[in-house]
Assembly symmetry: C5
């Protein structure tokens, strides 16, 4: 999985029928220092994420292993909202101490 | 999923039998500012997209989760035509205001 | 899917049993202007392609959705021989007008 | 599979329900000389790996083929802790001789 | 599939249970001129390959379509040992004429 910052939303009214009701968010991939890597992805939201939040997203067939994405043509899903991570024993991000 | 602009069409008469009737479109991947990224992809069309439209496409096994691509050897599918997206609260694209 | 030019053939006599009878071709990936992109791939052939032909190939699990590749350990398959494509209304390739 | 060094941990309390109990680790991908390649990945842990250890991780649908990740939306899993590897007959890494 | 040269071996005693008995080899990806591309991969061995041999490997879910890798968390498998390939009618590699 990669880390991403939710930066926006996307609306598509004409789509494959099974996608009805799914929420699509625009993510910027970030590295462990929270710098943007230049990669964006449009992901389905399985956890109620909002713009500005830092999330974990899964790609490929694994993106279809959530309640809202099962059997649907989506290849990226936000499956967790990140609270905190640390690298080499040092906290690099903490959701409630920003 | 990634954003793409439909730039062309492709015809192949000699192909795996199950592909009969599928429509193949040529996409240029674009970023959230609608700049082309240099990547193209040939995708099956599941939503009736036309040249010039901005679409969302899914890759890998997820490309086989539409009515027209199920069990077929395709690894990219257009699963939505995009109406609008916004980034940092600002509309970056709106289909009907171009 | 990506476009490729068939540039060669590959023979392997010691291989996983289920691969018996499969034909392996060497492809150079090309872009929509038919320039080689530097990427090669060895693909199974599902359509009787020959050296010099321009083909469409699928990767990943989708490469196992043809009659000859089903349940076999192959991750790339030629699933169509391309007749023609056009970009921005202009024909960029036509098999029978070369 | 690729080699990675476990460099940190990640906590996410709001997540897809099936992820409850899974441990997420932050990896830096390394090459066969143990130099970091610049790529990081967040992986589920299937083997009880700890920070500092060198591990092997699998990506994509293969990441769901462990007891702890089955049917869950994860696309990377640590499936082995590496003891040693050698390249051209020379040991490049040995867990117990560092 | 891609071509690789087997350059080494890897041992991991602490691993997901289903991996018991699998042999892991270190590969350097090569191009059709046998130059190393800079990419390495650790692959399961399904054909009894040895260090020095040139092989074909499959990635992703296709890596689980061999007798030894079925349902196991591996994302790369050596599924053939290459005898020969030719490009533009010219033999670029022949196992028994080296």
């Amino acid at each position: 999985m990669f880390l991403g910052r939710v930066v926006g939303t996307l609306v598509a009214s004409r789509k494959e029928g099974t996608l009805e009701g799914l929420k699509f968010l625009v993510l910027r991939q970030i590295d462990v220092d929270r710098a943007e890597t230049g990669t964006y992805v449009v992901a389905a939201d399985a956890v109620g994420a909002g713009v500005g939040e830092i999330v974990l997203y899964a790609s490929g067939s694994s993106a279809r292993q959530t309640l809202v994405t099962k059997d649907r043509p989506v290849d990226a899903v936000i499956m967790a909202i990140v609270d905190t991570w640390e690298v080499h024993g040092e906290t690099r991000y903490h959701k409630y101490r920003e």
